[in-house]
Amino acid sequence: MSVTYTHAEPSIADGRDYIALMKPRVMSLVVFTALVGLLIAPGHIHPVIGATALICIAVGAGAAGALNMWYDADIDARMRRTAARPIPTGRLTPGDALAFGITLAVGSVVVLGLLVNVVAAATLAVTIAFYVVVYTMWLKRSTPQNIVIGGAAGALPPVIGWAAVTGGFALEPVVLFLIIFFWTPPHFWALSLYRTEDYVRAGIPMLPVVSGAHETRRQILLYTFLLAPLGAAPWFLGYAGALYGVVALVAGGAMIALALRVRLKTEGDAPSKHLFAFSILYLFLLFAMLLVDRAVAAWGPFGPVAA
C-alpha cells in the first residue's frame, strides 16, 4: 500500500519578491502624500510618532498591494506589464502572498491605533479594505468606472496623515483627497490608452476597452478640466500661498495642454505616454509645493493669502 502526499512547492521567494509584492512605486507616492498631510496639519506631533504613522501607512499600502497581487494573479499573468510579478512567475505562492498581505494589513492598523490614534488607524483600515474589496475584488473586473471609484483608496493617505496629527478631519485634507481623486482617471486612462491590448487580453473592462479610445480621450480631457482648478484650490481657499497658486496654475495648464494633445492627436502613443509621465510629476509638484509653501510661510517673506 502506498500513500501519496501532494503539497505546494516550497517558496523560493527572497526579499526582492516580497518588496515587489508591496508595489514600492505606489507605496512611495502614498508615503509622500501622507507625509504632506501630516506636515501641513495644524498642531504638533512628536517626530517619533509621526515617523511611526508614516511607517504604518507605508506598510498598510504594501499590504493592500500584496492582497491586490494575490487576488489578481490570474489576470496579472496575462498582461505584459504585470506578468513578471512574483506570483505569476511562480516565485511566490498565492497562499504566501495572502498571509503576508493579511499580516501586514492587520499589523499596520493595530500598531497605528495603539501608537498614534484610533481615527488614523480606522481610516487606514478603510483605505486597505476599499482598495482590496471594493476596487480589486469588485470594481476592477466589472465596470469601466473601476479606477474612478477605486481611486478613492489612493486619495486617502493625506487624510490619514492629517488624522495622525489632529485625531480628526477637516476641509483641507478633503481638498487634497479630491485632487488625487480627480487626478487618478486622466493618469490611468492615459496609461490604458497605450496598454489597451493588455487589458483586452486580461478581460479587464477599462474605458478604452469598453467605450473605445475616442471616448477615453474625451473623458481624460473632461477630468483634466476639473483637475486643473482643483489643483489650485488650496490657494483659492487660503490654505496655501501665492507661490503654490502660481505653480498649481502653470502645472494645471500643462496638464490641460497635454490632455488636449491626447484628444486631438490620435495617431501614435506619444501623447498618452507624455500625459501619463507628466501626471506623476504634476501630483508630486503640487504636494511638494504645499510643503515648500508651509516652509516659506513659517520662515520666509511670503505668507499664505489668508494669513
Partner: protein, 76 residues
Amino acid sequence: MTITSAAMSEPAQEQKPAPLAPPPVEEGKMGIRLTEQQQRARRARSIAIALALGALVVLFYIVTLVKGPGVLVRPL
C-alpha cells in the same frame, strides 16, 4: 512523495508479531526535502521576520518612552 509500509508488502506467515511503532524509515527519506535555493530563501525569510519583530519591540519601547508613563491612560 511515497511512503511504503514494509509490513504490508511481505507475506504474513514470515512476519514476527506486528510492532506497535511504525516501521523504521530510512533516514532522509521522510518529509519535504528543500533544495539549496529553497533553504536559502527560507533562511532569509526567517531572518527578515526576526528583524521585523525586533524592530517592533524597539519601536514600542521608544514610543512608550516618548509618550511617558501615561501611555495607556488616554481618551479613545
